[in-house]
C-alpha cells in the first residue's frame, strides 16, 4: 500500500494539488479549493519561460482551447530543424482555472517547470522531440496498476477508471477528500513506475526545478501558496531533497513562445496527444453542463442534453434517428450508469447507449460509420481564440486577416467546400492563390479537389476550382514555424521555395532547369508576386548548370508562359521574368552545338526539344517579347556544316528554311540524297523528313520540293520496301492535324491528277489488316502470274 500524499504542508503553508490535465472534475474541485484557501500565490506546472504569457492566457478575450506553442532549436541541428511543442489549455484545465483565479484577484502566479528549451523538456522518453510540454499521462491508461484496477472495477481501460473514480465527483462538496483520493491514486501509479523510467524521461529533473521554484516563491510570499501539478509529481513536492540545486533560469534566445488558438481535435488523447482525456468534446459538454446549465437550473437531464445534442447534430446531416430511438438511448445510458455505479452517464455509458440503440445491425470489428460520427462529435471541432495582441508572429496575423478578407472561415475547424470562379472574379483568383500558397507552405489548410490544371494540360474546360478547406490550429502552428523566415504569405512561399530549390540536388534533380522553374512557377501561381524576384538567382543558378537541352527548353517554355500570363498571376513588373527568360535562352544557345554529338538512335528527345523550341519562339514572338535570333541562327549554321544524325539534320534544315538561309531548291536536292540513301533501315531513310516535319509542318505545302522528293521515293520503291517504309512515313507525318492532312492530300492528288476525294476515303480496317491484305494481294498476283492467267 502506498502512503497517501498529503495535500497540505502546514510547515510551509503550501497546498500541493494533484490534478490530471484537462480534467473537469479536477478543475471544478480546484476552483472550490482556491475559493476557500484564498492563496497569496498560485504556482502551476508549466515551462517557466511561459511566465510573460500569463496575462494573455488570462485576458478576458482569450477563449480556450488555446495553447502556448514553443519553438526550440534542436542541438547541433541545421538552422531550420526545430522542435515545436504545445502546452494546451481548455476551459476545464485545472491550470487555466488556477491562473484565471490568480489573475482575477491580483494574486501572483507563475509556471514552475523547467524552461521549454531545457533538454528534459525537448525529448520524450524515447528520445524523440516531444510534442507536448505537459507531462506524459499515458501511465494513467496503460500502467500495470491502472490495468489491474480496471479489471477490478469492471472498467475497460484507465480512462473509464478515471471517469468512474473521479469525474463522477465533479460536484462533490468535499475537495479535501477528492484531492486526497486523486493524490493516492497518482501515488499508486508512481509507485508502479520504475525509477529508471523517471530518470530517462526527465521527470526527476523537472521535479527538482519545481521544488526549487516553490521554495523561492515561498521565501518571497506571505500567506498560503497553492501549487498545481500533475498528480504524478505531487508526492515529490514534499519532504527534504538536499541534493536539489538552484532553479534553471529561462533563456530568451533559445526558445520563443506564442499563445495560439488550439482545437479540440488536437487535444484529443486518442489522436496521439499524450496528456489529456480522449474525446475532449465530451468533457467540454460535461464541464459546461455543470458550470452553466446545472448551475442555472435550466435542465437536470444530463443524458438527455448530451444525446439530444448528438441527435441534433445528426439531424443537421439529415439522418437523425426517430424520437423513440433517442428516448431509448437516453434511458439506456442512465441504466448503464446505474448498473456501473455512477450517478450520471459518463463517456463510455453514452457511447454504449448509442451503440445499443441506434445501430440495428451487426457492427464490424472496424466499427460503424455512426460510431465514428459520434466519436467525431464527442471530440468536437471547437477552436479557441486569443486576444489580437497575443503576440502571434506577424505572419499568422497577416494570413488570418487575409483569410478573413477572402471570406474563409477561421473561427472553427469545420471542413468546408469552396468553389472559386477563377476566370471571372478577381477575388476568387486571389482566394485561389491564397489556397495554393498555404498548400505550398504545408499548412494543411486546404486541398484542391477539382479544377483546371494548366501545368499538365488537364481539365482546362473547367471554369471553377474546388477547394476543401478547414482552418485548424495546425495551420497556425505551421505558420508559426515558418514565421521565423517570413512576415507575409508571399515571403513564406518564397522561403519555402528557396528551401525546395536547395533540396533539389538531394532528390537527384540538381542542375535541372525544368525542376527549378517549376518551383518558380509554383511560387508565382501561389501569389508570390513581386517577391518572386528573391528566388530568381537560385533558379538561374540551376538553369546555367543544366546540361540537358530538353529540360532547358521546357524551362524556357514555362518562363515564356509565365511572362505571357504575368498579369493574371499578379506580377506587375515582368522584368525579373524577362531576365530569367533571357538567361535560359542563352543556355539554349550554349547547348545547341552539342547536338552534333548525338547519335542517330538517340535523336528523338533532342528533336522533340528542337520542336518545342520552335513553338516557344513563336509564342514569344506573338506575345511581343521575342528573343534575339541572330546568335541562334549562327549556331544553327555552324551545326549545319557538321555531320549530324539525319533527324537532327532535317530539323536544322527546317530552321534554315524558315530563316531564309536555305531555299526549296537546296532542300529538294538534300531530300533526294537523304531519301535515296543506302540506309538498311527504312526508318533511317525517313528520319530526315521526320526532322523537317517535326520543326515545321507547313514546309510540306510551302516548299513543293518536299512532296516531290517524297513522291519520287514512294513511286520508285518496290512493293516490299514501300510496306517497310510505311510505318516510318506515318510516324514522320504524325504531327499533322486533320486539316493539314487534307491540305497535304489535296497537293498529292493534284500531283497524281486525281480528285482529292479519292484519297480521303475512310477505310474502316486496321493497319495490321491492311498490311496483311496487301501481302495477300501480292501473293495472289504472283500465283495468277504463275498460272499464266494474270
Amino acid at each position: 500500500m502506498v502512503d497517501p500524499a498529503p495535500l497540505h504542508d502546514p510547515l510551509r503553508d503550501v497546498f500541493v494539488v494533484p490534478v490530471r490535465h484537462h480534467s473537469p472534475a479536477c478543475a471544478a474541485q480546484l476552483a472550490a479549493l482556491l475559493d476557500q484557501v484564498q492563496p497569496a500565490a498560485v504556482l502551476v506546472e508549466g515551462p517557466c519561460d511561459f511566465d510573460p504569457l500569463i496575462p494573455l492566457i488570462c485576458d478576458a478575450r482569450t477563449r480556450p482551447p488555446v495553447a502556448v506553442v514553443a519553438l526550440r532549436q534542436l542541438d547541433g541541428a541545421a538552422r531550420r530543424k526545430r522542435a515545436t511543442s504545445y502546452f494546451p489549455f481548455s476551459a476545464h484545465s485545472p491550470e487555466y482555472v488556477a491562473l484565471r483565479h490568480a489573475h482575477g484577484r491580483q494574486v501572483a502566479s507563475q509556471f514552475i517547470d523547467l524552461p521549454s528549451h531545457a533538454r528534459a523538456m525537448l525529448f520524450d522518453g524515447e528520445g524523440e522531440p516531444a510534442r507536448t510540454l505537459q507531462g506524459d499521462e499515458t501511465l494513467f491508461d496503460s500502467g500495470d496498476y491502472v490495468t489491474a484496477l480496471a479489471r477490478d472495477l469492471g472498467c475497460r481501460d484507465g480512462n473509464e477508471v478515471w471517469d468512474q473514480l473521479f469525474e463522477t465527483r465533479i460536484a462533490d462538496a468535499d475537495w479535501r477528500r477528492f484531492f486526497a483520493d486523486v493524490g493516492q491514486y497518482c501515488a499508486c501509479i508512481r509507485a508502479a513506475t520504475a525509477q529508471s523510467v523517471m530518470e530517462t524521461d526527465g521527470t526527476l529533473e523537472r521535479e527538482v526545478q519545481m521544488r526549487a521554484l516553490v521554495a523561492r516563491a515561498r521565501a518571497a510570499t506571505q500567506g498560503p501558496i497553492v501549487v498545481v501539478v500533475g498528480g504524478f509529481h505531487a508526492s515529490a513536492m514534499f519532504g527534504d531533497h538536499p541534493g536539489d540545486g538552484a532553479p534553471v533560469p529561462p533563456s530568451g534566445s533559445e526558445a520563443s513562445s506564442y499563445l495560439v488558438r488550439y482545437g479540440n481535435r488536437q487535444l484529443d488523447a486518442l489522436a496521439g496527444y499524450s496528456a489529456g482525456l480522449p474525446l475532449p468534446g465530451f468533457y467540454q459538454h460535461w464541464w459546461d453542463w455543470h458550470h452553466c446549465e446545472r448551475a442555472n437550473g435550466a435542465t437536470d437531464d444530463w443524458a438527455g442534453t448530451l444525446i439530444g445534442g448528438f441527435v441534433a447534430h445528426l439531424r443537421g446531416q439529415g439522418r437523425a434517428p426517430s424520437f423513440p430511438v433517442m428516448l431509448s438511448a437516453i434511458e439506456q445510458a442512465k441504466r448503464l450508469a446505474s448498473l456501473r455505479g455512477r450517478p450520471l452517464p459518463l463517456r463510455d455509458d453514452v457511447i454504449d447507449a448509442v451503440r445499443s440503440t441506434f445501430i440495428k445491425d451487426e457492427i464490424p470489428r472496424a466499427g460503424a460509420a455512426l460510431l465514428q460520427e459520434l466519436h467525431g462529435w464527442l471530440t468536437g471541432s471547437a477552436i479557441g481564440d486569443v486576444p489580437p495582441a497575443a503576440g502571434s508572429p506577424p505572419l499568422v496575423e497577416a494570413v488570418r486577416s487575409e483569410a478573413r478578407r477572402l471570406r474563409f472561415v477561421v473561427d472553427d475547424g469545420e471542413i468546408r467546400t469552396r468553389n472559386l470562379d477563377i476566370y471571372r472574379k478577381e477575388t476568387h483568383r486571389e482566394a485561389s492563390r491564397f489556397c495554393h500558397a498555404l498548400a505550398l507552405v504545408g499548412a494543411g489548410f486546404g486541398q484542391r479537389t477539382a479544377g483546371p490544371d494548366f501545368r499538365n494540360d488537364v481539365a482546362l474546360d473547367r471554369l471553377f476550382e474546388v477547394w476543401s478547406v478547414g482552418w485548424s490550429p495546425m495551420v497556425e502552428a505551421r505558420l508559426i514555424e515558418v514565421s521565423e523566415l517570413a512576415d507575409s504569405l508571399p515571403e513564406a512561399v518564397i522561403a519555402v521555395i528557396a528551401e525546395r530549390i536547395a533540396a533539389l540536388a538531394e532528390q537527384g534533380l540538381g542542375r535541372n532547369a525544368e525542376a527549378a522553374i517549376d518551383l518558380f512557377a509554383t511560387a508565382c501561381r501561389a501569389g508570390a508576386g513581386e517577391s518572386a524576384g528573391a528566388i530568381l538567382q537560385l533558379v538561374e543558378a540551376e538553369v546555367i548548370e543544366d546540361a540537358e537541352l530538353r529540360s532547358v527548353v521546357a524551362a524556357l517554355s514555362d518562363a515564356v508562359l509565365l511572362r505571357r500570363g504575368h498579369k493574371v498571376l499578379g506580377i506587375s513588373d515582368p522584368a525579373p521574368i524577362d531576365q530569367l527568360m533571357h538567361t535560359i535562352w542563352r543556355r539554349v544557345l550554349v547547348l545547341l552545338p552539342e547536338l552534333a554529338a548525338i547519335p542517330a538512335d538517340q535523336a528523338r528527345p533532342a528533336l522533340q526539344a528542337l520542336a518545342d523550341l520552335r513553338g516557344v519562339i513563336e509564342i514569344a514572338r506573338s506575345a511581343g517579347f521575342g528573343f534575339d535570333l541572330g546568335p541562334f541562327d549562327e549556331a544553327l549554321a555552324r551545326l549545319e556544316a557538321q555531320d549530324l544524325a539525319p533527324a537532327i539534320a532535317g530539323a536544322v534544315m527546317a530552321f534554315a528554311l524558315l530563316d531564309g538561309r536555305a531555299d526549296g531548291q537546296a532542300l529538294g536536292l538534300r531530300l533526294q540524297v537523304e531519301l535515296a540513301g543506302a540506309y538498311l533501315d527504312a526508318g533511317e531513310r525517313l528520319a530526315f523528313v521526320g526532322g523537317i516535319i517535326a520543326i515545321s509542318r507547313e514546309l510540306l505545302w510551302t516548299v513543293p520540293q518536299v512532296v516531290e522528293a517524297l513522291d519520287a521515293v514512294v513511286g520508285d520503291a518496290e512493293e516490299d520496301d514501300f510496306i517497310a517504309m510505311l510505318p516510318h512515313l506515318r510516324l514522320a507525318l504524325m504531327p499533322l492535324d486533320p486539316g493539314e492532312i487534307d491540305r497535304l492530300s489535296t497537293i498529292v492528288a493534284e500531283r497524281l491528277g486525281i480528285s482529292p476525294d479519292a484519297l480521303a476515303q475512310v477505310v474502316a480496317i486496321s493497319e495490321d489488316e491492311a498490311l496483311r491484305n496487301a501481302a495477300l494481294d501480292r501473293e495472289l498476283a504472283r500465283k495468277l502470274e504463275a498460272e499464266g492467267v494474270a
Binding site: R335, L336, L339, I359, E362, R365
Partner: protein, 365 residues
C-alpha cells in the same frame, strides 16, 4: 450429484445453481420487476465475482454484457449477432438463467419453424373433444414467458422465414398476444420481466433477412471472436477441463498446447500473425468453440491412443477437421500457413516442431 446433471448437458441454471444461490443471497440491490436477481448480480454471474466464488463465464467484452443486461430492462428485445461460435447462445442462456431462473424457454429457429411455435398451438384431441379451451391450448415458449414474466430465448432467428419472424413484431411492441379462439376480447398481457433474447447469424449461408420493423424492436449487440489470446486460452482450458471431468480423463501438457492452438486460431482468424506476417484467411469459421472441440478431441487422442501427454501433433491431426469443411481452398491456405509460419516457429520450439511434422503429413490439398 443431482440426477439432472447426469444429462449430456444440463441447463445453465442447474450447472451454476450454487453460484446463483450465493448471488441471490448476497444481492441486496433493487431488482427490476420480475427479475430473480438485480442487474449487478446478473453482471457478476456472467463476468465473475471472486469474492463470492462466482466464475467468469463470458470473456472478452465486458461492456457488451452491461449493454445486454440494460437492454433487457428496456422495452426493446435483445438481438445477439455475430459469427458462429462466438458464445452468443451461451450468453443468452446465462442471461435467461440469471434473470428469470430458467434458460429453458426457448424457440429453436429453423426453416420449419412456424407461427405456432411463436404464438400457440393446439392439442388436437382436446380441441376436438372440448373445442377451443384453455386446456386444449398449447402455449409456445413465448406465450409461457409472457404469462410468467420471464425471458424467452429465440435461437437462430434468421433461420426462420421472415413472415414467421414477424409474428414477434406485435408481441414486442404491445407486450400482449390476442387469443381470439378463447373469446373475442381475450388478450394475454405479458407480466413484468418478460423479454426476448434472439440470436442470429447475419452472414452465414442459408439465412433469411430480417424486416426492419422487427429490427427496430431490438437492441443489437455484436459478439466478436475473442481477440485477446490470453483470455481465449483461459477459456479454452476451462472448457476442456469441464468436458474432461465427467469422462475422468487426465492429460498432461494442455497448457502449452492450448497456447499453440489459440495462437494458430487467432492467426488464421485474423489473417495476420502475432509477428505481423500476412496470410490468407480460410473461409471456415475458426471460433473459440471450434478451438475447444479441437483441443478436446486432441486430448482424447492423447489419453486413449497415446501416452496421455498432449502434444503439437495431436492438435495438428485434429485441426484439419475444422479447417477442411467449407472450401477446398482452405486446405491450401492451411498448408501455406504450415509451410511458412509454422515452419519458422518449429525451428525455435519443440511443441511447434511436433505440430509442424504432423501437419506436413496431412493431406491438405
Amino acid at each position: 450429484m443431482n440426477a439432472e446433471i447426469q444429462n449430456l448437458r444440463a441447463p445453465a441454471e442447474l450447472r451454476h445453481a450454487d453460484e446463483l444461490a450465493r448471488l441471490a443471497e448476497a444481492d441486496n440491490a433493487p431488482r427490476p420487476a420480475g427479475w430473480q436477481l438485480s442487474p449487478r448480480a446478473v453482471r457478476r454471474f456472467i463476468l465473475g465475482d471472486p469474492k463470492l466464488g462466482v466464475a467468469r463465464k463470458f470473456y472478452g467484452d465486458d461492456p457488451l454484457v452491461d449493454r445486454a443486461i440494460v437492454s433487457l430492462m428496456s422495452r426493446q428485445g435483445l438481438m445477439l449477432v455475430g459469427e458462429p461460435g462466438t458464445a452468443k447462445s451461451m450468453l443468452s442462456e446465462l442471461l435467461g438463467a440469471a434473470i428469470s431462473g430458467t434458460s429453458a424457454l426457448v424457440v429453436q429457429g429453423s426453416a420449419g419453424t412456424n407461427e405456432d411455435h411463436i404464438r400457440y398451438g393446439w392439442n388436437y384431441a382436446l380441441l376436438l373433444a372440448e373445442g377451443p379451451t384453455e386446456r386444449a391450448l398449447v402455449p409456445s415458449p413465448v406465450l409461457n414467458a409472457m404469462r410468467s414474466g420471464r425471458i424467452v430465448r429465440f435461437e437462430e432467428i434468421t433461420r426462420c422465414p421472415p413472415e414467421v419472424q414477424d409474428a414477434l413484431i406485435s408481441i414486442l411492441s404491445e407486450k400482449s398476444l390476442a387469443l381470439p379462439e378463447l373469446g373475442a376480447d381475450r388478450v394475454e398481457a405479458a407480466r413484468p420481466g418478460f423479454n426476448i433474447i434472439a440470436t442470429a447469424n447475419l452472414r452465414d449461408r442459408g439465412v433469411h433477412e430480417m424486416s426492419s420493423a422487427l429490427k427496430r424492436r431490438f437492441n443489437f449487440e455484436t459478439v466478436h471472436p475473442i481477440d485477446d489470446p490470453a483470455f481465449e486460452k483461459e477459456l479454452v482450458l476451462r472448457q476442456l477441463a469441464e468436458r474432461l471431468e465427467p469422462e475422468a480423463v487426465a492429460v498432461k501438457g494442455a497448457e502449452d498446447v492450448a497456447e499453440l492452438l489459440v495462437r494458430t486460431f487467432q492467426d488464421l482468424r485474423s489473417g495476420r500473425t502475432a509477428e505481423g506476417a500476412s496470410l490468407n484467411r480460410p473461409d471456415a469459421v475458426m471460433s473459440t468453440a471450434e478451438a475447444v472441440n479441437v483441443l478436446h478431441a486432441a486430448a482424447l487422442e492423447a489419453a486413449y491412443l497415446d501416452d496421455g501427454k498432449l502434444g503439437g501433433g495431436h492438435v495438428a491431426r485434429q485441426i484439419q477437421g475444422v479447417v477442411l469443411k467449407d472450401s477446398p481452398d482452405d486446405g491450401k491456405k492451411l498448408r501455406a500457413y504450415v509451410d511458412h509460419i509454422v515452419k519458422e516457429r518449429a525451428a525455435r520450439s519443440g511443441l511447434w516442431k511436433e505440430f509442424y511434422t504432423a501437419a506436413r503429413a496431412l493431406k491438405l490439398g
